[in-house]
């Protein structure tokens, strides 16, 4: 006989409401037909493409921010994913003290405030790595630096669950070390690699601090930087529209990651694949 925890249940419901409602309202106002971001004047798609000057589709600065964010995220995936996979492969083979140190260094970006990492990169780029320009190159370096850790964590988790047996079997059957990795391990890792790539994408498009500190002015503004710069001014609901577009992209990424993880678990014969994937998502 258990008492129903009504109080806790309503508290949780309130929390969900509190966490979702403001964002939902911001999305709603991206469809406002008036110029205000806080007074509702009816539904329209004006701020997406209807308005000939300040809609997302027609305002160059908004469109550029969108393009910058997407290009930067794509580049980050291209650099961080192979690097991270290689690092994860190396770290699982490496034993002893250097490996532990390397492990520690990899975890550092996760516990260092982004402001500290961003400042450090800003100073080094402006003072000594002058071959890197502020703007997209520097932003790319910043994004790769902190998303690398995510890739390694995800891929290494999968590597540990694969175990050394299959690779050893391949070696026994005459494969060279490189062949064993390429023909046995990499195919097994593919879902994890995809999942981490999407994760990198999502962290990159959401990032604000590194993008902002390492940007070189209006030309390399990403969407979060653009939002930061205009939200306190008299921006139109086009800003909400821009944020809503990015939100949909993130949500799409989330669905993709979830789907990949569920497939991975199904193949492993997990009966409760859906909920366990959710739990894994929650553990990042």
């Amino acid at each position: 006989m258990k008492r129903k925890p009504k109080l806790l249940a309503s508290f949780t419901a309130l929390y969900v409401l509190w966490s979702m409602l403001p964002v939902a309202i911001a999305v709603l106002f991206s469809f406002n037909s008036g110029r205000s971001r806080s007074t509702w004047q009816g539904f329209s798609l004006r701020w997406y493409w209807g308005d000939p000057f300040s809609s997302v589709w027609h305002d160059d600065s908004l469109l550029r921010a969108l393009r910058n964010s997407l290009v930067l995220a794509a580049l980050t995936i291209l650099v961080a994913t192979p690097l991270g996979v290689g690092l994860a492969l190396g770290l699982t083979r490496w034993r002893g003290k250097p490996a532990r140190v390397a492990n520690g260094i990899l975890l550092l970006p996760l516990v260092t405030p982004e402001l500290v990492v961003g400042t450090a990169l800003f100073l080094v780029v402006t003072n000594s790595y002058t071959f890197l320009d502020l703007g997209r190159p520097a932003q790319l370096v910043g994004h790769v630096t902190f998303s690398l850790s995510y890739v390694v964590i995800v891929v290494r988790g999968r590597l540990l669950s694969i175990g050394p047996d299959l690779e050893e079997a391949a070696r026994d059957l005459g494969a060279s070390p490189f062949q064993a990795v390429r023909m046995v391990i990499v195919p097994l890792l593919t879902p994890a690699i995809f999942a981490s790539a999407v994760l990198v994408f999502a962290t990159s498009i959401d990032d604000f601090v590194a993008s902002s500190l390492l940007s070189s002015g209006a030309g390399s503004e990403t969407v979060p930087v653009k939002i930061y710069g205009s939200v306190r001014g008299g921006a139109t609901p086009a800003l909400n529209a821009l944020a809503t577009i990015m939100l949909s992209v993130s949500m799409l990424a989330l669905v993709v990651v979830f789907a990949i993880m569920r497939v991975m678990r199904r193949r492993q014969g997990d009966a409760n694949a859906g909920e366990n994937s959710l739990k894994e998502l929650a553990s990042w």
Binding site: P5, F11, T12, S19, M20, P22, V23, I25, A26, S38, L87, G90, A102, I105, L106, P109, V111, T112, P113, L115, V116, V117, T119, A120, L121, L123, V124, N127, S128, V141, G142, V144, T145, L148, A202, D206, F208, L213, V223, P224, I227, Y228, V231, R232, N240, A243, M246, L247, S250, M251, A253, L254, G274, E275, L278, K279, L281, A282, S283, W284
Partner: protein
């Protein structure tokens, strides 16, 4: 690994190089000094003095105060929610888990944008609040409560998820055993669940507190007033808007040192707790 060395360790060293470097006598700009033997600590000690008993001190204290309040807010909001989802949610569990994960994937700036819209003088929330006594003010200018609640709103998803993971791992049979031995539900919670989740709770606090310490954007978006300035604001200010990046670099070093102490304390306590468990 070379990447991490090149873009994580070296930059960190360069912060020190700039902080302890010289000032170009003609252009008044910072010249980093790479050789530690020539490091010049005068500026650093100068900034240190300003932090200990000067204008920057209040900023540090304010930062600490806001972070402590906001983390406390996260505990008050987050613990019951994480507890409910992991223990009592029943058939709603999967759905609630999705709802816990969602805000994590909504861009932080988007969520702040949402609150700015609501708290603008014409915004729905500001209108609602203006019916309260003392509620009719500009909520987006120099209101500490807005900043602290903004931090709670921004970081609570990062708090709930790790805590949920811990609570979820607690063996339900332990609680049943407690109940069988005559504990009331409340006693079972205080004497079994809470002690078992203490590790996760601490981890969640650290995970949320660390980025909060370096946060400057929440503050700037929701208040943008010197009255609520935090350390992060000062760092960014010195870095971008003045010709004295050395001061910013010194502040970064002090902040990192302070965080290192906190982290070390946390790790020691975790270690001790683990030894207790394995013994």
């Amino acid at each position: 690994m070379a990447w991490m060395a090149l873009f994580f360790i070296v930059p960190f060293y360069s912060v020190a190089a700039v902080a302890f470097g010289q000032v170009d006598p003609i252009r008044q700009s910072a010249v980093p000094e790479w050789n530690p033997r020539y490091w010049d600590f005068t500026l650093f000690t100068d900034v240190m003095h300003r932090v200990v008993n000067g204008d920057l001190g209040t900023v540090f204290i304010r930062t600490a105060l806001y972070v402590v309040l906001a983390v406390a807010g996260c505990v008050v909001v987050g613990y019951p929610v994480a507890y409910f989802v992991s223990r009592e949610a029943g058939k709603w569990r999967a759905a609630l888990l999705v709802l816990m994960i969602l805000p994590y994937w909504v861009s932080y700036l988007m969520r702040m944008l949402a609150w700015v819209n609501l708290l603008q003088p014409q915004g729905w929330m500001a209108q609602l609040l203006s019916h309260l006594p003392a509620g009719n003010r500009n909520w987006l200018s120099g209101q500490p409560i807005t900043v602290v609640l903004g931090l709670v709103y921004g970081y609570v998803p990062f708090f709930i998820l790790p805590l949920y993971a811990t609570l979820d791992r607690i063996d339900g049979r332990l609680l049943e055993a407690a109940r069988d031995l005559g504990a009331t539900g409340r006693q079972a919670f205080w004497r079994v669940t809470l002690p078992l989740s203490r590790q996760g709770l601490m981890a969640a606090c650290v995970i949320t507190a660390l980025p909060m310490v370096g946060d400057y954007y929440t503050n700037n978006l929701l208040s943008a007033s010197p009255r609520t300035e935090m350390v992060g604001n000062q760092i960014v200010f010195f870095l971008q808007q003045t010709t004295q990046p050395q001061v910013g670099a010194s502040l970064v070093l002090m902040l990192s040192a302070a965080l290192l102490v906190v982290m070390a304390g946390y790790l020691v306590s975790v270690n001790r707790a683990q030894k207790l468990v394995t013994r």
